[in-house]
């Protein structure tokens, strides 16, 4: 079973086409293993990006250095998944 301990989901808002292109390029960097939940569309529209714990620092540094604004949408993905599992088990009972 794949665990997502420490993984975060970032909500990123690009302000121009250049920043959008940069975000799209992130997707191609397979070593980061990031996963767009909501792809970057047009400036001002939020994109949601799941970032594995080992890549967090690199991704955040990149965003900050390029002046791309973001917020942490999900602090610890595994914590939410555990809650979801618990809810399903409870419902089944």
């Amino acid at each position: 079973e794949q665990l997502f301990v420490g993984d975060q989901v970032l909500r990123i808002t690009a302000s121009n086409e250049e920043q959008i292109a940069l975000l799209r390029a992130l997707d191609e960097q397979t070593e980061l293993q990031v996963d767009f939940w909501r792809h970057p569309g047009s400036p001002g529209h939020p994109a949601d990006l799941r970032v594995p714990f080992p890549s967090l620092q690199a991704v955040k540094t990149l965003l900050e250095s390029k002046g791309i604004s973001y917020s942490i949408m999900i602090e610890d993905l595994q914590k939410l998944l555990d809650e979801e599992k618990k809810a399903m088990a409870k419902s089944r009972r």
């Binding site: 079973e1 794949q2 997502f4 989901v9 909500r11 997707d27 397979t30 996963d35 767009f36 939940w37 909501r38 792809h39 970057p40 569309g41 949601d48 799941r50 949408m73 999900i74 993905l77 939410l80 998944l81 979801e84 809810a87 399903m88 419902s91 089944r92």
Partner: protein
Amino acid sequence: TERSTSTFDFASYHTIDEIYSWMDTLVADHPDLVSKLQIGQSYENRSLYVLKFSTGGSNRSAIWLDTGIHSREWITQATGAWTANKIAEEYGQDPSVTAILDGMDIFLEIIANPDGFAYTHSSNRMWRKTRSINAGSHCVGVDPNRNWDAGFGGSGSSSNPCSETYRGPYAHSEREVKAIVDFILGHGNVKSVISIHSYSQMLLYPYGYKTAPAPDHQELNEVAKKAVSDLAAVYGTKYTYGSIVDTIYLADGTTIDWTYDNGVKYSFTFELRDTGCYGFILPSTQIIPTATETWAALLDIMVHVLEHPY
């Protein structure tokens, strides 16, 4: 175990076994309206089931709905189950549903990607693609919403098997996709396809693989406008709408581009909720509200299809 549609908890997420078992119950509870068809098998040999809602007639014009082609979008399978139950319950009660089913059939595939869905329950909650093995790569799966023969292979999809938008080796390489293709072509009288995804709160229509407006752009836009307006009236959830390429980005090989190019004029794709900050792990408390508001939009589209035969 006593089985009844009244004991199925629509407000909870369910496994594939639970949903498939419930489908049998729905059929048993509404034998004159609902039947279950198998349209193929998945890569891992799971059955691809479609619920058929029909009041009779032969080869009536039809509406196709599918949910869960991206397996991790759990709100869609849950909405599919709720919607199936709603259609069955409202026939004979709600005048719109009754009129639709007196004139047309509805087909609903609740779990369009069963291997992926099972995998989200067992190993990786975030799994999106199919589970087919890619020759020469350690990465598994194809994005079934980039695998259709509509601009297949162009930009807006990936040739990298490790990518979440990997298009696959050739169009319709995925059994899950091919089964729908064969069904729609074999049926020959499908007038609308509504493919349901999550979670960006959008109602989209062709094209995604090219920037040119679809020949029916204006009508589709009007239908979408009304549908999202009626959806918003339920809980205030704001949707955007437009062509895929204008609203999101260039995306090749998508379901509704293929259906549109193959003569299905009323081709739409939904991106359901997240009104909060959960994405694909939307809490189960939002299932019923999501399904309820989506129903308003679905009804709008289906009524429009009924009233505008072609």
